[in-house]
């Protein structure tokens, strides 16, 4: 029976680049098909919805700039997650690390004695440190005490959210904000320049692109990068070769948390110019970055593309929200479905179809 089929299915060890791209594409398609059922169930015409999504993300220069704006925090946080996932560290805490970066940047902008010209570099520097510090706590707990990283990084997110809320409603509440839970506006020297009238703060984009290549270099061309890969794929072998799991984990999470922290700096310095409610600072960028990293197949340079893809979903989601009256949670639905289809289809990649010669 099996032999009569016109093709045969065999297993392979390493999926080819072509298989990875084809399967990823099919997975996205599958997710969009299921999402259209959700649209339809909600009473919205799926075709109309996708049209609105597409034109909201790419319909014009402004729309494209919105896509880039949303992609910026995803880029930085996504690169950080790539390196964490390479080391098999489940950093689900990019959201909290991002918020800590935003807090540090706000401190520099509003309360530090840093002089104007040094303001922006200092914000990125302290943002990196704060994000890294937030990420190092779970890194330490995992590598030293064996405590589950998924839980600690997640719990740290909730603590970070409440920390921001505490600051904006309490000690840092702005005097010029008529009682709203915001800090005061940043001085001009602490605001990132944007391209024209858009919300694209190009400094952060540049930092992100440089980070992508830097992390690629670290992973593929340096000793710590080699240790990350070995300990991530075969910890026992790495330890036997004298590699330090603790040191590597701390190194990885310094970068991972730090990059997420810089994403937070970009949001407050480039868009909001103040610290405010966490749900306005981040639309769950830290969680979406997980899918960004996964779709990039843990390649930091591919994150540039995948972050743009999810930036488009955020920007398009905004457009659907306005034109079809769908709530903003539609982007969560997309994210969840895409992630399911991506991981569900991975099994397909390890098989190949060979057509029989007739």
């Amino acid at each position: 029976m099996k032999d009569r089929l016109p093709f045969k299915i065999t297993k392979r060890k390493n999926p080819s680049g072509f298989a990875v791209i084809t399967v990823s594409f099919l997975a996205l398609l599958g997710a969009f098909i299921v999402a259209s059922i959700v649209f339809w169930a909600y009473g919205a015409n799926p075709i109309q919805a996708y049209k609105a999504l597409f034109s909201g993300a790419f319909g014009g220069l402004y729309e494209i700039s919105e896509t880039v704006r949303r992609a910026t925090p995803l880029l930085l946080a996504g690169i950080g997650l790539v390196i964490a996932f390479k080391a098999k560290f489940w950093n689900i805490g990019a959201e909290g690390q991002l918020l800590l970066g935003a807090i540090a940047a706000s401190w520099v902008a509003l309360f530090s004695p840093v002089p104007g010209p040094l303001m922006i570099p200092a914000m990125f520097f302290f943002g990196f440190l704060a994000g890294a510090a937030w990420g190092l706590i779970p890194a330490f707990l995992k590598s030293k005490l064996g405590i589950n990283d998924v839980i600690t990084t997640l719990m740290m997110n909730y603590i970070a959210i409440n920390l921001v809320l505490f600051l904006v409603q309490g000690p840092w509440k702005g005097e010029q904000q008529w009682g709203f839970p915001y800090t005061d506006k940043f001085p001009a020297s602490a605001q990132l320049p944007t391209i024209g009238n858009t919300n694209v703060h190009w400094t952060t984009v540049l930092v992100g692109v440089i980070a992508a290549f830097a992390v690629y270099f670290i992973i593929n061309r340096t000793t710590p990068g080699f240790e990350i890969k070995v300990l991530g794929s075969n910890p026992a072998a790495g330890r036997f070769a004298g590699m330090s799991y603790v040191k590597t984990t701390l190194f990885v999470m310094t970068i991972s948390g730090g990059l997420a922290g810089m994403a937070g700096v970009g949001e407050v310095a480039g868009i909001h110019h103040m610290l405010r409610n966490p749900s306005e600072l981040s639309l769950g960028y830290g969680y979406t970055a997980i899918i960004v990293a996964w779709l990039a197949r843990k390649n930091p340079i591919a994150v540039i593309l995948t972050s743009l893809f999810f930036g488009a979903i955020f920007a398009g989601g905004d457009a659907i929200k306005v034109s079809l009256g769908l709530p903003f949670q539609i982007t969560d639905v997309f994210n969840g479905l895409i992630l399911f289809f991506l991981i569900g289809s991975e099994l397909l990649m390890s098989y190949k179809i060979e057509w029989r010669q007739s």
Partner: protein, 308 residues
């Protein structure tokens, strides 16, 4: 005065710990069979929204609970299919389920936000028992019947897990699936059923929140309780009775984070349960259960017949 405060706090602790307990019992079964389900938050919120919608439309809150269980169960089967049948990464699949659950509940719950619910599961006061000093006020006055259901479920689920052949089957699938398979156990079926049990209980936990505990639907109303459940499962060493202690301990913390608000900033208080979860894990990791902390051996490992 102080007595009244303590009694009141303990009584509300039960109410707050109940959703944690229900979901933790379910997650313990899921993980005992080898399947980590990080989708608890998503399943709870789906349970909450479907329970509210059902009770709102039909006027029958118990039907709402039934639908909540079904919704949670159905959602868990998606995770089951992806992680058991398609053998995908359990961590990522669970995260996807949470995202999807939060998204769908926000989408379909939009119309119910801020609506008052007329038909709720009302609290009961048990006659006679309510007159026991202190204990009566804590346990038997103005409690939801679901609190009692959750508490009663604990010894039953503990007994099944540790004293019946079904329990041995579940645990062997989670410890050594290939040995279980060669002794004739259907590993996939057992795992699916345990994941389903977890889903149903998470759904019920959500339903309790939206139609019994504080009858209302707001998006994101589970606010991280699902993640506390994941921590509680470890904290409980995958043991239902310890799950009960843990659930009510965290229930107390969550309740206190409201109770202490006149004295401490609410945002700082809200950090307490999450910070305590980390602290609790640190404490047990320093204790005797070091290293594995008693986790099922095959947790997070997809089972492939013919491979070790």
């Amino acid at each position: 005065m102080i007595e009244e405060w303590v009694v009141g706090t303990l009584s509300r602790t039960l109410a707050y710990g109940t959703p944690l307990l229900l979901a933790t019992l379910g997650e313990i079964y899921s993980e005992r069979s080898g399947v980590l389900n990080l989708g608890v938050e998503g399943m709870m919120i789906l349970g909450a929204v479907s329970a509210f919608a059902t009770a709102f439309i039909t006027g029958n809150p118990w039907l709402g609970m039934l639908v909540a269980g079904l919704a949670g169960g159905l959602a868990s089967l998606v995770h089951g299919f992806v992680s058991i049948t398609l053998r995908a990464n359990q961590v990522v699949s669970g995260l996807a389920l949470t995202m999807l659950g939060l998204g769908l509940s926000g989408l379909f719950g939009k119309g119910f936000e801020g609506k008052p619910l007329d038909s709720t599961i009302t609290n009961v006061t048990v006659p006679v028992l309510k007159d026991i000093p202190y204990l009566g006020d804590i346990l038997f006055v103005d409690q939801s019947p679901i609190v009692y259901i959750a508490i009663a479920l604990t010894p039953i689920m503990s007994f099944i897990l540790f004293h019946t052949s079904l329990g041995i089957t579940i645990r062997s699938v989670g410890e050594n699936p290939s040995a279980a398979d060669s002794s004739g156990i259907n590993v996939w079926l057992v795992r699916y059923l345990c994941v389903l049990t977890g889903g149903i209980l998470s759904g019920l936990a959500g339903g309790y929140l939206s139609i019994a505990y504080r009858p209302a639907w707001t998006q994101g109303m589970t606010s991280g309780m699902g993640w506390l459940v994941i921590a509680l499962t470890i904290f409980a060493s995958w043991n239902p009775s310890r799950g009960l202690l843990g659930a009510f301990f965290f229930g107390a913390l969550m309740h206190l984070s409201f109770r202490l608000q006149p004295w401490v900033a609410p945002e700082l208080l809200k950090m307490m349960p999450y910070g305590s979860a980390i602290l609790a894990l640190v404490i047990i990791s320093l204790g005797t259960l070091k290293k594995s902390m008693g986790a099922p051996n095959a947790l997070q490992q997809p089972y492939i017949r013919g491979e070790k």
